[in-house]
Amino acid sequence: MKSQNKSLSFSRRNFLKTSVLAGGGMLIGFNLLSACKPEAIVPVDISKLNFNDFNAFIKISEEGYVTIFSPNPEIGQGVKTSMPMIIAEELDVSWDKVSVAQGLYDPVNYQRQVAGGSQSIRFGWDALRQTGATTKQMLVNAAAAKWGVEASTCFASQGIITNANGDTLGYGEVVKEAAILEIPENVSLKESKDYNIIGQDIKNVDIHKIITGKPLFGLDYISEGMVYASVLRPPSFGKKLASFDDRISKGINGVLEVVKFGDKIAVLGSNTWAAMKGKKALVAEWKNDAKLESTEDHDTELFKILNGKKFETNREDGNVEIAFRNADKIIERTYESPFLPHNCMEPMNFYAHVTPEKVHLVGPIQTPAWTAIKISKLLNRKPEEIHLAMTRMGGGFGRRLYGDFAEEAALISNITKKPIKVVFSREDDMAAGIYRPAIKYRIKASIKDGEITGYHLKEAAINGNMYGLIANFFPAGCIPNYKVSTANYKSKITTGAWRAPYTNFLAFAEQSFFNELAFELDKDHPTLLIELLQNVKGTKDERIQYSPERMEETIKLAMKKSNWGNTTEATHQGFSAYYSHNTHVAEVADIEMKNGMPLVKKVTVAVDCGIVVNPLGAKNQVEGGVIDGIGHAMYGNFSFKEGTPQAVNFDNYRLIRMQETPEVSTHFVESGLSPTGLGEPGLPPAGGAVANAIHTATGERLLKQPFINELEMSKSKILG
């Protein structure tokens, strides 16, 4: 066989290997992103799947049934359905012959077994298609050999191979032979017009289990002899444990043991309720270890940053200072956001059983490999002694990227040697968070002769700043004098990724600001964006992340589908467009005002995420992202007083509910390009669309989230 590209053929040969299964059938092991080791062997016993070299497997039975062990963690973003769809498409089997199992984890070698950043589909696209197509070619080759004909005279479709004489063989009938064939190279991939599965509405593979209440989630996992652990943690950021008295706790029915680890105390119970009661009965004394920070302190520090000069420059084009000096008009606004907890519906939890032989871990985690390595170091155990199994996750939103709860479980089991499950209460979950950091943006722009000549974005954030590429999102390249500056304040409050990190708030600030600029220039908001996009078309600047052509198409689609500018008198529209996670999104919010408060009735969304693998699942992601974005922009109110979170459950922390929910109408741009992520990019533009619609309705500019606080303040002012 001729090889046109040596490096490609080498990696191809090595990223996929096959074996004949002991129980019948064929097992294909593949490595999603990297070449596996030349000596790697696919196991012949399905119960001993070896994820050291292969991070995913396909099993084809002698009856022609296909099981795909989906490698990426499922947090609700749909990859457990969409990734196998891509394999099944190129393998060319009918979807009703396919079942999907969650892949276990690889303790050392997993390249990307992470759910986060909306990147699963984007990174998997080529490898998954190659895997399906290569496997199909092996089956065809095996059938051709059986018939004694040239493989090129045969074709396969819907799990059946046909030769020139019209003879047929099912995939299952040739798996034994196919499994021992050489891996073919240079297989051809389908053209998108020939897709049978990709682009179809395929239902969630776990739907039946979900609606009948079958155990799926980490909290549902039970092992023989398992006990429950409820953990008392320092009540405030900046405090540590001084002393504690566990006498009352130990007297509670079902409380088995109380153990201190670090500044935390675990109460072990024979059931969750006993453990939780035991924790509540602990009497602990805390001492101050650091300054106890309040929200007012954070506000002061972040404003100090914004008003000062200590910034790093993330990108600088031209000279904004000169543009500001020569301007006809300067506009400057400051946008503020609070910390936010993730509030996954399934509270954090993890199972651990530490024995002399191994450390067995089970639970919901977005980063299994990273967490396993951390625990191996924490317990001073060899990486290969860490066995971690993932469960389905009751939401992630970034919170389950951090394995703090798994580390706690491992530490407690290491002390007690019992199989234990750490269960957070909702109060634990909100108070021991790894929050979306509070951020303030100050944006300043200059207008000269009816054009935007300068744009300076300053970010003052808690603990960290926007990652490198964001400064190259829109409007980078559109405005001649452009600058992004960042600085942060180091706080004791733990912070981390929260669905669409940074952009979840930046998009609101930016698109509110552009709405104001459009007003100032007496232009329509989307029209202004399209005008600006012309300036970056044909750019040679490789740092620019977004595509002006795709963004323009997306904006135009949203305008068309929302009937932009042509609504009834009672309906007020707001526009917003944003590129993030390789996906272009534009949104129009339709609101009505009732008793001085906005009701978001409808959001029209246009999305360019390339080829839509599973429209049914994709729309669900967009609908959820938009409503999540609106909910947190409207209601997400989280503050600290002397290091203590001021809301710890849903009685005083408001999440969006059914009656506040708009209808979301989603439309995809048909670009035919490789698919990009969808779990996150629907969220960032939503807050801005609503804020801009509120401005259309009332003339009020909302600069601070959550909107509800500002709206109630202005309402009470009006009502006197």
Binding site: E74, G76, Q77, D201, K203, N204, D206, I207, H208, I210, I211, T212, G213, K214, P215, F217, L219, D220, I222, N253, N271, T272, W273, A274, N343, C344, M345, E346, P347, R392, M393, G394, G395, G396, F397, V423, R426, E427, L616, G617, N620, Q621, E623, G624, G625, V626, I627, D628, G631, N649, F650, D651, L655, I656, R657, M658, Q659, T661, E663, V664
Partner: protein, 152 residues
Amino acid sequence: MPNYTLKINGEQVAVTVDADTPLLWVLRDELTMVGTKFGCGIAQCGACTVHINNTAVRSCSLPVSSIEGESITTIEGLSENGTHPVQEAWKEIDVPQCGYCQAGQIMTAAAFLKENSSPTKNEIREAMHGNICRCASYNRIEKAVELAAKNS
């Protein structure tokens, strides 16, 4: 610890637990019926919704001592193999994202439709307002309840 005899999904079940133990934890930890979910523990999110004598209640805040003799239905007992019209509608509309809150949503919807078999859109939105879906699959929940009403 006291003994209680509960009637769950038509069967009599004996448990030995403290009197203040919420039904939720009796179901999950004592009876390993884990379909009923823990979300907030203070009856604010609806993840733990079950039926007591056909009425939707929050099992996280219901002490076991208060429900002896009552007829309890959980997601596991709502139908044989997921064939209740609400479950069928959930499948048809492909409602879930993460799926965690959905058992509670389904139980709320099933009890509601028993009371009101042909609800308006606003009645559906009001009835489902107490159940949080953090993934915000609300549009589909609304559609699925509408479909279930139509089909039952």
